[in-house]
Structure formats: C-alpha cells, structure tokens
C-alpha cells in the first residue's frame, strides 16, 4: 500500500519508550525530584559532622530511604498520569492511529516510565555513593544490592501505577498506588491483623487481598546493608524473580484491559 518499511513490534514500543522518557525528564516533576535528592544530600552533609559510630548508620539508612521515597514519588506521578494524560489530552488518538498495537503502546509506556525511574535512582545513587564513600568512608557492595532492590521495587510499583492509570483517574490512580505501597510493606502485619477479625468471611477476604498484593518487604534489605552484612545471592535472585513475575502479570492485565477500552 505504501513505500514505508515497517518497523518490527519491538522497535515501535522502543520509540514509545524513548518518547516517554524524553517527555518525563522535561517535565517539571523530574527536575523537582532531582532537586529534592540534592537537598537530601545537603542535609546529610550538614548532619554528618555530628555523626559518630551509630550515627553514620542512620545517615546511610536515611539516604537509602530517601532514594526509595523520591523514586516512589516519581513512580506515582509518572505512572498515574502516563496513559491517562495522553487520553485526556487526546494525543493518544494520533499515536494509536499509527500501525502500533495497543499492547506495544502499553509496553512502550511501561519501559519509558521504568527508564525514567531508573535514571532518577541512578542519579541519586551516584550522589549517595559519593557521600558514603568519600565522607563517611563506609561504602561496601551491600549498599549497591540494596539500591538494586529499591529500583526493582519501584519497577513493580510502576507496573501497578500504569494499571491504575488505565482503569481510573490520575488522582485515584496515585491514591491506589500509594495504598498498595503501604499495604505491600505491611503485608505481614495485615495478615496478623486478619487473624483477629472475628467474622470468618471478613478474615478470608482480607487474607485473599493481602495474598494478591506483592510483599514489598522482600525488596527491603536496607537494615542488612547499612550494618554491612552481606546480602545473600539467593535473596537477590528470589526478589528478582518475584518482582519480574509481578511486573509481567500486571502488565498483561493492563494490556487486557486497555485492548477493550473505547478511547472517546
């Protein structure tokens, strides 16, 4: 029908991802998140002269928590607004009018948001590692493992965030994602709490929901890393497969929903 050479499926998803990355790093939110991490670092530098013994552990721990929280903030924002904003602004019409399948679009959007988050985590990590190794002189490889798991957790959260963005509005999407983050970290506590629920049905429902949620504590080795304990490789391997399984599952679900959606 025409002289264009048709790019493969992967390459169209790649273009969507690259475009998403470009778009989000030019958004004010990305700049704000970098600013926050710089401020965090500044605060750590100010506090660190006071640090002796236990206190540099606190700074190391706070730094990791900072990377995690700023990453979460970015994942919430990007994920929640990603698809919804394109629908709202109607720019999705022209994108999907090209020979691209909806699944490829979702895949591209997801990869783009993960790229943005990873870039953000990398930038913060460079600052963090510099602080820890030059200033506190307590750097060790366990910290890198901890950062890797933080990035993995954020990638899982980004998948849920994209899903919520497809099925609801940005505000509700951000709310659900935040709820998922909190519940995911408290999964064990919620299960304990469920035992206390008197009604049999209520207990079952609460347990059922909790088992569907990812247990985000699997990605949390901050304590071990800060105290310089080695992170066992099987733990990393397990967390990686656990995260990948959730990512694939949630992405497939998102595609399934998005395929049927009328873009009015």
């Amino acid at each position: 029908m025409s002289s264009n050479s048709y790019a493969s499926r992967g390459s169209r998803a790649f273009h969507v991802a690259a475009h998403t990355l470009l778009e989000t790093i030019r958004d004010r939110v990305f700049g704000v998140s970098i600013l926050f991490s710089a401020m965090l670092l500044g605060a750590a530098l100010v506090l660190s002269p006071l640090a002796a013994g236990e206190q540099d552990k606190i700074i190391m721990d706070l730094g990791l928590a900072g990377i995690s929280v700023i990453g979460l903030f970015l994942a919430l924002f990007i994920g929640a607004s990603l698809v919804f904003r394109e629908v709202e602004r109607r720019s999705i019409y022209t994108v999907l009018s090209k020979p691209i399948a909806r699944d490829e679009y979702i895949l591209g959007k997801y990869c783009g948001s993960v790229l943005t988050i990873v870039l953000n985590v990398l930038m913060m990590s460079v600052l963090y590692v510099l602080l820890v190794s030059l200033h506190l002189e307590t750097f060790h490889m366990g910290l890198l493992s901890a950062i890797y798991l933080i990035a993995l957790e954020l990638a899982v959260i980004a998948a849920f965030s994209l899903f919520f963005s497809v099925v609801s509005s940005p505000f509700m999407g951000a709310f659900f994602t935040l709820a998922l983050f909190v519940a995911g970290h408290l999964a064990r506590d919620i299960l304990h709490f469920a035992e206390l629920v008197p009604a049999e049905s209520g207990r079952m429902i609460l347990k059922g929901i909790t088992y569907m949620l990812p247990n985000l504590e699997y990605f949390n080795v901050k304590g071990m890393a800060v105290y310089g304990k080695p992170i066992p490789p099987d733990l990393l391997l397990f967390a990686t497969s656990y995260g990948a399984l959730y990512i694939v599952g949630v992405l497939l679900l998102t595609m399934l929903v998005f395929r049927r959606k009328d873009l009015q």
């Binding site: 969507v16 999907l96 009018s97 020979p99 009015q264």
Partner: protein
C-alpha cells in the same frame, strides 16, 4: 478503500447507565482515490464514525475494513493518516521532534523521516517554530503540526476530522491547497467539515449523517460558489447548503414537531 459495513455503536452515559445509540446501521464505501465528506449537525456521529475506522472505538456490531484489512488489525493503519478534531500534542517536545516521533511510529526509515520532516515544516508554514517547545504553539500551529503528523508517512488514506477548523483565512487556503495536492496525488481522503464551501471545492462525494444514519449520499458536487455566481443559467445541481438544510435541518424540525 474504506468499507464501513452495518456498523452500530451505543454509548452509555455515565448517570443511570442509559444507552444512547450514536451510530446506527451505518454502511458506506470509499473508492480508491476519491475524496469523501461526512456532513451532519453537531453530534450526528461523524467523529465517532472516524474513530471506529481507526479502531479507537470498537463498534458494537458490523465491520470495517481498510484496503481489505480488518480495522482491528494494526496493519490496516499502515498506510493511514489521522487528524483528530482539535489535535493536541505533548507540550514538552519541539515540533520537529514530534514529527520525527510520529514518522518512527509509522515505520518510516530514518533518512526519509528527516528529509520529509524538513519539507513538511516548510510546506505547512511551521518554519521558525520547529525547534520551539509545543506548549508555545497557537491553535493554528497545532493544526498544522497535526497535518505534518498525518503526512510524515505519506499515507495513501487520509482521515481528517474538521481539518480547517481553528485556522485563519490564509491558513485555511494553505491547508486547502495541501489537500488538493494530496487529492491530485491520488490519495483517498475522508473528511468531516462544517464549512460546506470547502467541501464543494475539494470533495467528490458527500454523505449526510443524521443521528448516526447515512441519510443521503450526494454523488455529484455542485460547482463551487464563485463559478455558480457567474453562471446566469439556472443551477442543475443544488448547493450543498440547500441539501444540508433539506436533509439535516428538516429532519430535526420534524423531530421537534413530534
């Protein structure tokens, strides 16, 4: 080229979940190389019909093919360009970046993409603005960018939803010339418009949509207005405006009378 076969679509309005039929049993076929206009009052279902052709909205019943390929297959859009009503694009990119992005999505190779993007920026009057962020673009510039995004893949089928809206008189003439050039090249064009004068000048045929039904298809366009005025002889072909009033307006009056 485009074949719409007994297509119907209901929308559920949010409150009370009541169903409203927006397109009903719609059928029409576009021949290769023809320019076809979808006409009708606001809310007649023109945009919905176009979105169904693009698979942005799924019909409840019926089927649509483009060049023989089912519209649900992305390959049906491999030689298609779509200009939505009031197009809007990511504000953080520059016009040039955006055109290249759409070229990449359409599978245009890098060299051709670069060259075409440059040519389109020139021919659509966007030079000087191509390296500016899109958030600084005016409505008319957005419309031109929308056109660039359509033409970057040199599509053989163009689906244009109110392509002249938002343009000043000079812009309107420029876009009309672009359309006529595409027509000259043998492209198949489906457009909707409320500017009947443009439709008379550009289109070969026109269909009147009334409440989602194809009420009438005009097979022969009347001569454009300026020529008609010069003509002293009585008109053999009625103007589109008269037909519009006849088919569209009178139907509404009937409804109101009921």
């Amino acid at each position: 080229m485009i074949r719409v076969d007994h297509v119907s679509k209901d929308f559920r309005s949010d409150f009370l979940r009541r169903r409203r039929t927006v397109v009903r049993e719609l059928s029409f076929e576009m021949r290769p190389g023809e320019t076809f206009a979808l006409l009708g009052a606001n809310g007649a279902g023109k945009t919905t019909t176009m979105k169904m052709i693009l698979d942005l909205i799924r019909p409840d019943t019926g089927s649509i093919t483009i060049g023989g390929i089912d519209s649900r297959d992305p390959m049906a859009r491999s030689a298609l360009g779509y200009l939505p009503e009031q197009p809007y694009f990511s504000p953080h990119l520059t016009g040039f970046e955006l055109i290249r992005y759409y070229g990449a999505l359409a599978g245009v190779s890098r060299e051709i993409r670069e060259e075409r993007a440059r040519n389109l920026i020139r021919s659509l009057g966007l030079q000087g603005a191509e390296n500016r962020r899109i958030r600084h673009y005016s409505k008319g510039m957005m419309q031109r960018l929308g056109f660039a995004q359509v033409l970057i893949s040199d599509p053989s089928v163009l689906v244009l939803d109110e392509p002249m809206s938002g343009l000043d008189p000079v812009g309107r003439k420029e876009i009309r010339d672009v359309l006529l050039a595409q027509k000259e090249k043998g492209k198949t064009i489906l457009l909707s418009s409320h500017i009947l004068e443009d439709v008379e000048r550009i289109c070969d045929r026109a269909g009147f949509l009334v409440e989602g039904r194809m009420e009438e298809i005009v097979e022969t366009m009347p001569a454009p207005l300026p020529q008609r005025r010069r003509d002293d002889a009585p008109r053999s072909v009625p103007s589109l405006e008269r037909l519009f009033v006849e088919h569209v307006h009178s139907r509404y009056k009937e409804k109101i009378a009921e």
